[in-house]
């Protein structure tokens, strides 16, 4: 079992080391993921139902919204 894990480790290690174009692609992937999760997600795409305007009772908030938009008032 231990040897299998080591073999898999070496498989990936060798693979990553021998990359040429792959290094550029991985850099693009990491920059993209950073932008998505640490900039867009945190600063531009907060979960609306977790915002203070909604409060703790999300189902009550959504229900009220659904009723108000349908019936007014």
């Amino acid at each position: 079992m231990r040897q299998t894990v080591i073999n898999i480790w070496h498989f990936y290690q060798d693979g990553f080391r021998s990359m040429t174009l792959g290094r550029t692609l991985w850099l693009i992937i990491l920059v993209k993921l950073f932008i998505m999760f640490f900039i867009l997600r945190l600063f531009f795409f907060p979960r609306f139902l977790d915002s203070p305007a909604v409060g703790d009772d999300k189902e009550d908030y959504v229900s009220s919204e659904l009723v108000r938009r349908g019936l007014g008032g």
Binding site: I29, L49, K58, V62
Partner: protein, 520 residues
């Protein structure tokens, strides 16, 4: 707090979602189709042992890798938008989407991440058989991921297998298999995936013809053209067949979308399909009496055949769908839009009454309200419609995009037949005009796929979930300015990433397939 939802908020949020989805769909179909083409090439290597096929497969794998790397995770932004811009919708459908998206996430991560590593790192390190299996399983993983995403999309077009729970204000899944195998989902899956195969085939033929035009890599290019053209021809023919199935499903479940696709206002028996037509811009509303066409060429009775599988069947037009009163298959009479709106308001009132009764601990009143809600819940979304004409999608956009998709689908069948004829019976390498045709066909492959999605998504407006929830009820109460800001951030970000992809891909194509040594 805003009392009414600003329509520009809906428009900008839809535009932002459309931008993200369009960008996402640039990468997905090429991934799905290239996986098949390179799988066939590696299978040829496995069966013959000829390193030419290994070299060929490795080149297209490199292109696959570039496309995969730039496209990976672009779909995650759509999920961000669900949580931020479409929070009511997310809450409303949460339990339905949870299972398919969780399965998709697990499969996408484990299956693709595992086998794609073997595919790229495993040449000469694992057996030929295991490597070949990994290549095919990479493609299968991507295809299964697509299945679950399309199941979620199909549910929005035709919500089945769920019940609305007024206690949680959510739809809850009661029949997983009804959701996972609905005819809408099955047709959508095959039609979308096959369109991806067509795009990839067009792409491979086009790039290979560039080599022929440059008088480079003749053997490699001709072999790639032959495999891709066979894949493309089969996929294009099957795509037309599944498109017919999708059309039938649309006729059954989303008749307003079908009517918009055809610019079809007044229903009739033995309705014809518009082969070519120019819509009349003077037509402003369904009720204005203006002829919707400046000119049209119809295929007689074809719309009835497509929609009902009978040449003399009645197909309702936009005005019939709004006015109701025509007989349905089950023997009942179709409700008018106003009657549906009334039922929708009854459902919403019952929902409000149920929650009020529950809050007051009045179980008897809650039971009565629950019964009324259940009787009318199928029309829940109509309660948000203020004017019956809101139920009509953008007819010109849907009509023209449908024709773009269908005509390009027909063109691709012809294109692949010609390519195969020239590749087998003539010397394709000496036909620069055909090289240019093939290269110029690449953007048409992308256009056809995007046009199809415009028909599917714009054609179902105003619904976020068909008949259950319009976009005006699905959207979060956000500031329009913040949505505009993120729209332009995405536009810049996506443009930069697309330029990066095209640049890297062109560089790889210019370099061409690498020479293999005896060792590799």
């Amino acid at each position: 707090m805003l009392e009414h939802i600003d329509t520009s908020l809906i428009d900008w949020s839809r535009a932002q979602f459309a931008l993200t989805a369009i960008y996402h769909w640039i990468f997905v179909p090429l991934t799905l189709g290239l996986a098949v083409i390179m799988g066939i090439m590696e299978t040829a290597y496995y069966r013959t042992g000829d390193t030419f096929w290994k070299r060929t497969a490795k080149f297209w794998m490199k292109i696959f890798g570039i496309n995969f790397a730039i496209g990976v995770a672009t779909g995650i932004i759509l999920e961000f938008e669900f949580g931020t811009n479409w929070s009511n919708y997310s809450w409303f459908v949460g339990d339905i989407f949870g299972a398919p998206l969780a399965i998709e996430g697990i499969l996408a991560f484990f299956m693709e991440a595992t086998f794609i590593a073997v595919m790229f790192f495993g040449w000469d390190k694992v057996s030929k058989r295991f490597h070949l299996a990994s290549t095919w399983l990479t493609g299968l993983g991507a295809t299964i991921s697509a299945w679950w995403i399309l199941v979620a999309n199909a549910w929005m077009q035709n919500p089945v297998g769920m019940e609305f729970n007024p206690d949680t204000a959510r739809n809850e899944m009661v029949d997983f298999w009804a959701v996972a195998t609905s005819p809408m989902a099955v047709n959508k899956f095959f039609h979308s995936v096959l369109s991806g195969w067509v795009l990839a085939a067009v792409f491979v033929v086009g790039v290979s013809c560039w080599y022929l035009w440059k008088k480079r890599e003749k053997k490699f290019a001709l072999a790639s053209v032959r495999i891709a053209a066979w894949v493309g021809l089969c996929a294009a023919v099957l795509s037309a067949w599944t498109g017919d199935g999708s059309g039938y499903q649309v006729a059954q479940k989303q008749p307003m979308k079908l009517a918009a696709m055809e610019g079809y206002y007044e229903g009739q028996q033995g309705a014809g399909l518009v082969a070519f037509g120019l819509l009349n811009p003077a037509k402003q509303t369904p009720q204005d009496g203006v002829d919707p066409f400046l000119f049209r060429v119809e295929i007689p009775k074809m719309l009835s055949l497509l929609a009902e599988r009978k040449t003399d069947a009645f197909v309702p037009g936009i005005n019939d769908l709004l006015k109701g009163g025509y007989p349905l298959k089950d023997g009942s009479v179709a409700l008018s839009a106003e009657e549906k709106i009334e039922k929708g308001k009854t459902a919403i009132s019952a929902f409000a009454a149920y929650r009020a009764a529950k809050a007051a601990g009045n179980e008897a009143d809650a039971e009565v309200a629950a019964r009324v809600l259940k009787e009318n819940v199928a029309y829940f979304g109509y309660g948000y419609i203020k004017d019956v004409n809101e139920l009509v999608p953008n007819v010109p956009l849907t009509f023209y995009m449908f024709r773009v998709m269908v005509m390009l689908g027909g063109y691709f069948i012809l294109f692949f037949i010609v390519v195969l004829f020239l590749a087998y019976k003539k010397d394709l390498s000496r036909m620069p005009w055909m090289h240019w045709v093939a290269m110029l066909t690449i953007p048409l492959g992308y256009l056809a796929g995007q046009a199809g999605w415009v028909v599917a998504e714009c054609g179902r407006q105003p619904w976020a979930i068909q008949d259950m929830l319009p976009t005006s009820a699905a959207i979060s109460r956000l500031d329009v300015g913040s949505v505009q800001t993120t729209f332009f951030i995405f536009l810049v970000l996506f443009t930069v990433m697309l330029i990066a992809e095209v640049g890297i891909m062109l560089k790889a194509i210019r370099k061409g397939p690498e020479q293999l040594t005896m060792d590799n």
